[in-house]
Structure formats: C-alpha cells, structure tokens
Symmetry: C2
Subunit: 408 residues, 2 copies
Amino acid sequence: MALLVQKYGGTSMGSVERIDHVASKVAAARERGHRIVVVVSAMSGETDRLIKLAKSINPRPNPRELDQMIATGEQVTIALLALALEKRGVAARSYTGAQVAIRTDQAYNKARIRHIDTERLLADCEAGTVPVVAGFQGVDEAGNITTLGRGGSDTTGVALAAALKADECQIYTDVDGVYTTDPRVEPKARRLDRVTFEEMLELASLGSKVLQIRSVEFAGKYKVPLRVLSTFQEGPGTLITLEESKMEDPLISGIAFNRDESQLTVSGVPDRPGIAAAILGPIGDANIEVDMIVQNVGADGTTDFTFTVHRNDHDRAVEISRKVATDLHAKGVRTAQDIAKVSLVGVGMRSHAGIAAKMFKVLAAEGINIRMISTSEIKISVVIEDKYLELAVRALHQAFDLAEAPGH
Amino acid sequence: MALLVQKYGGTSMGSVERIDHVASKVAAARERGHRIVVVVSAMSGETDRLIKLAKSINPRPNPRELDQMIATGEQVTIALLALALEKRGVAARSYTGAQVAIRTDQAYNKARIRHIDTERLLADCEAGTVPVVAGFQGVDEAGNITTLGRGGSDTTGVALAAALKADECQIYTDVDGVYTTDPRVEPKARRLDRVTFEEMLELASLGSKVLQIRSVEFAGKYKVPLRVLSTFQEGPGTLITLEESKMEDPLISGIAFNRDESQLTVSGVPDRPGIAAAILGPIGDANIEVDMIVQNVGADGTTDFTFTVHRNDHDRAVEISRKVATDLHAKGVRTAQDIAKVSLVGVGMRSHAGIAAKMFKVLAAEGINIRMISTSEIKISVVIEDKYLELAVRALHQAFDLAEAPGH
C-alpha cells in the first residue's frame, strides 16, 4: 500500500465536470489500496482573473494583499474536490496552506517553503480520509498568507511528498508524459518512460513546459520520485528519477527548443581578462537574464562576445551593450532576432563521443547554418535561423532514432 | 478622536468603482481624525455564486467544505479594499476571520462568535494603519473556517465594535437610515434620527430589512451604539441606541408591515387548559415557525384559536391543524392567505394610552376590517386584508404625524 501525492493542475480543475473526473481518479487510486494526499491548483484562469481585478483597483498592488486575494483560487477548488469525493462516498477534507500548515518565508508572491506539518495529513490518511491540500500557497510565521509564484502547485506537491516520505509524487497535467520533443513540431515524438532529473531540468528550462523547474530541482534534492501523467487519458506517464536506466542508456533523451531569445554580439572587443564581466555586469544590473554566452578565442588581439537574452529585453540589452562597446573601444554591436535555439539533451551523452559532430552533420545536410554553439555535460545547444527550426527538430529526431523505443 | 468600526455590505462592495468609493469614505473619516476599523462583505452575488457552484458538484454539500469555500468571497474584498486604500495613500492591512482571530464555535454555516483577539487591530490603529476585516467568517479552535450565516457581516461589525470598545459601529448600506415606514408604500416616510434597540428589533423583525436582527440584539446586549448610513449618499443616518431620546418621545417611531404570512384558525376547540400546546406542539415539531398567536375568551365552552405562519408553510400547517382539530373534536380549520400584517412600533407607546384605539379608529374610517389583533409593550399589530395594506400604512402614517419631525 503506497502513499501517493497526486497533484492536479488548473486545466484538470477547470470545470465542475473536470473536478468530478479528478474525483473519480482519486477514488480509483484509493480503491487500488493506496493512501492518497491530493494537491490542487485554482481553476484555470482564476488566478489571472484575480490579479487583473487587483490591478484594476491598484496598478501596483501590495504583494501581501495580492497573495491574500489570489490564494482564494485554490481555497475554492480544494473544497469543490472534497465535495466531489464525498459524493462518491470517499471521506475527504480540504486544507488551505495555512491549515496544513505549510510554513514559508515572508517573500510574498515568490515564497519558499520552510517546513510542513504532516500530523493532520498523516492522521487523515490513517483514518481513511483523503486530505485535499491547496497548492501554490503557504503561511508565514505571523499568519500572513503567501504564495509560491507561478507553477507553485507543483512545488507544493513535491514538498508534501518529501515531507510525508511519499512513495511517489504524481503530477497530473494535460499531457501524458515527457516527450522526446514537442509533438506539434515532430508528430513522431515519443513519450519517455523515464528520464533523469538532470535531463528533465535541461528539457524543462529549454521549453518543454511540462513541469515547473523549481519542483524538479526540489524533487531531485529530496529524492522524491516524480511522475508526470495525463488527467484525461490513462497511461503510465513519465517517471522522473535519480536512478539512471538499467538498460543501456539511449544517447539522447529529447530535443528541446525555443524561439523566445534574441542574440547580441559585441564584436572586436579587446581580448583581455575582465571583458565578460565588463559586458554582462551592466546587463545583470538592469535585471536582464542572459541565457547562452559564447566567447571564442581571439585573433589579432580582439574577440567577439555573443550572448542571448529574452526577446522582450532585446531593446534594452542593445542600448546597454552599445554603451559598453563604446567604453571598451569595441567595433560595435550586432544583433539577430529571428533566431531559434535547438538543444539535444541526454545523460547518455556523457559517455559517448561524437554526438556533437553527428548533430552538426545532420544540420549541414539540411543546409542549416549554425550561428552559435554551447555545450554542457548532458546538452548541446545550437542557435539557428528561426525559419529552419521545425526542419532541424525533425531531422535530428530521426537521425537520433528518437521515434523508436531503444532496442526495437 | 473616536474609534469607529465601519461595516460595508455586498452592494457597497459590488464593483471596482464602488470599492474605490468605499475607500474614499474611509479615507475621509480618517482625515477627520478618527481611527477606523473596516468590516466588509463579499461582492453582492458572490456568496450565492459559490454556493451554487458547490451544489452543482454535490447537491448536499458538507457544511465545513461549504464554509471553506464561501469564506473566499470576503477574502477577496478585504484585499481589494486594502489595495484601494493604499492607492489613496492610506496604510491598510487586510485580515481574514482566522487572521484576526475571530474565534467561533464549530457550528458551520451558522457559527457564533466566542472571542475576538484585538491586539493586532489595536496595534494597527495605533500605527495609523486601517485594518480591513472579513465579515461573516471566523475560525474554530481546530483552525477550521466557519461562517456566521446570512447577514453575518453585520454581526462581525458589532462584535468587533464591542471587543474594541469602539465609540460607534457604523453599518453602511444602500438605504440612508431607518424610516418611519417603507418609502415605496408611503413616499412621505421620514428618516428617523434615532431609534431604540427595542424599536429596531420590532421594526426589523417586522420587515424593515435594514439590519440583521442578530446584530441588533448583539449591539443591545453589549451596549454598542449602532448607526445605519448610506454608502451612496451623505447624511447622518439613524442612530440605534439604548438611551431613549431626551426630548419628549414621539408616540410612534414607525410602521412595519409584511405580506409573507397566512392565517389559520382552529375553530370551536374546547376551552380548557393545554389547548394552545396541543395545537402548536405538532406545528413546532414540523419546524414551522409561528408568528402571531391569538386566542379569545371562549363562549359556550369552546373558543377559536388563530395563528399565522409563513406562506411557504401554509399547506403543511393546514394539514397538521386539520389532524389536530379532528383529535380535539374541534369544529374545523379556516384559513386566509390574502392577508397582511401592519404594526405600529414605538417605545413612547408604553406611557401613552389610546394608541390602539386611535389605530383602530383610523382603519375603520377607511373601511378596513381588522381580522386579528396582537399587542406588546411597544407594538400593536393587526392583520387585515392584503389589498388594503398600502391604504392602511398611509392612513396611519398621516394620523400619527410621522411625516413631520416631532415638535415641528
């Protein structure tokens, strides 16, 4: 008899019918003999509605009051799910973050969980009652309601699983697992049975928006087995785990990509220590996040320094870079906005040479020029022209046999 | 510098514009030098929406879960009002019932307040911050959220005023005070400057639905001066107070009425002890509330026993009465549904004879037949035919000089 934490997101809780469906899934898991603790999000759209309402009253809402308000979204859905469970004859009891209590620091809108009281929840499980816990929210020492930031319900699920020493944290969402790449780009994309935390982190941060990164980090840190499943179709989902597969690792687990970045190159900068800091310091001071950074070995005493930022920050980043370039007596700043990043991710990469070479060869064969390359132990990312993105993903997906289960 | 508790109802909090208007009123009171604690209801319609949502999931919702859910209505409006106040440069801080804490028993949906912690609120007032408290809700010893039942926000306001030893509890609503009668029936109806708790109780229970009865009882018990004012127009409102007026009391404060009752007469019952209990016992057992009860002295060993019930209970009450009538060998049961009750209310009545006689004379002059009479120390009620209601109210309003301020 396993202890499972099941987390259902906003889409799964989006209507009375869907909440009823979630209740049927919880009831079924319970009938299979498991003890279940449920974590839910607000109905999809509700948090945004509340934020909009707050801003219509005060364009710069006080973060404490905002949290007080948006925490009501889950307070409604926990009660609704408890009611739906009781209608099915399953004893259930709803808990807000404060009622659990899920103790956080006082960083409103982006609080961090410090401690979770598990007594009540374990007592409920013991008594055969299903606790239904509000995700995304907690309470500080003074009794103020806090929220964990976007996607924080996943974090609540993982944190609860860790605190309860649950056998598994199951994240129910509207996709049935983690795929080798986005099926909208490559219809042959395959669901992964398992993926490591490290791979998941790379896949998540690169745009496979299945899970919030923080919750994956958290699960990795506390060694909570995490499973991504679909609320709407049956299936085993994808298990995210510390252990690497016992079978021979596939070289590549998946292909991530994104189109949200733009590229800046400060060209002809003097090739001497401190240049990177001189360029990125002012960018960081302006709260602009930098993703890829590439600096090649210089020739004739100068080098080109290239980095990518989110498209929304492009104009500000260019302005700052131009100023820095002048100060450094660099040649100038070049930018590219119609770019896309494509990344191969896989723990198997560690022990296999030649992945990068194969990747570049596949892209070359399709006539796709590589503008920028960056590598890590389990990831190779390239920046290419935006218009080649789909072609690149499909070509790589096929070249690395991702459509077929390994060994078939 | 007075300490005032201001309570704003659902209509006053019904939209972003209205909440902003409430903020302007609170800010103005604060600028006049008062310390203010605000109590608010949910946006009008929100509580009903949430109850409907709960019932669409589970037609017989668990009362704990229902309270968990509907308490979110005020949790949203407290935050919105705090934000609106801060936009005006007024420091404010919202509190749920649990955060205050407003401790109640565990009677979900109709909890009673047991104790209110005033430390935080007084500390806020001291620091120049306006606490905005959720009405209608509290928390039991185990941390479960409870609600006080319909109109419970008035009760919260009064209870807070009592606990804080406030100088006045101001109930802001959509009428600008308590009137001598319903202005829709008698356009000459006059706003009362002050009215006693006893009169208010009689006026409220008889259909002047300005305040929830429980909150008036509460205010009377704890000697909290209560004032009813309009959110939407300026004015002194009506002060509800223990002290009777220093001026010569007007004989009559107001005329209340209602059309919600129907009348039953068990005729020809044996005139002996125990008859009232024999008839009303089974009615009470069926949870039917009885309002007026009249039994006249009997002749020839029998008497007629008459009482009124809510129209919705008419059919059940008739059925029960018929059975009782048979058991008692009474003559039968007569009923009347097209009736209305009209009541004169006034503490001045105590010391003045002749009010009843004058009332009956006025009605007779208009050709209105009286079907039933019932009196108390500060009230005379008559039951008449429904169709004469407006005529009766206007005739009495004029005869007792209610349109004119006393002494003018």
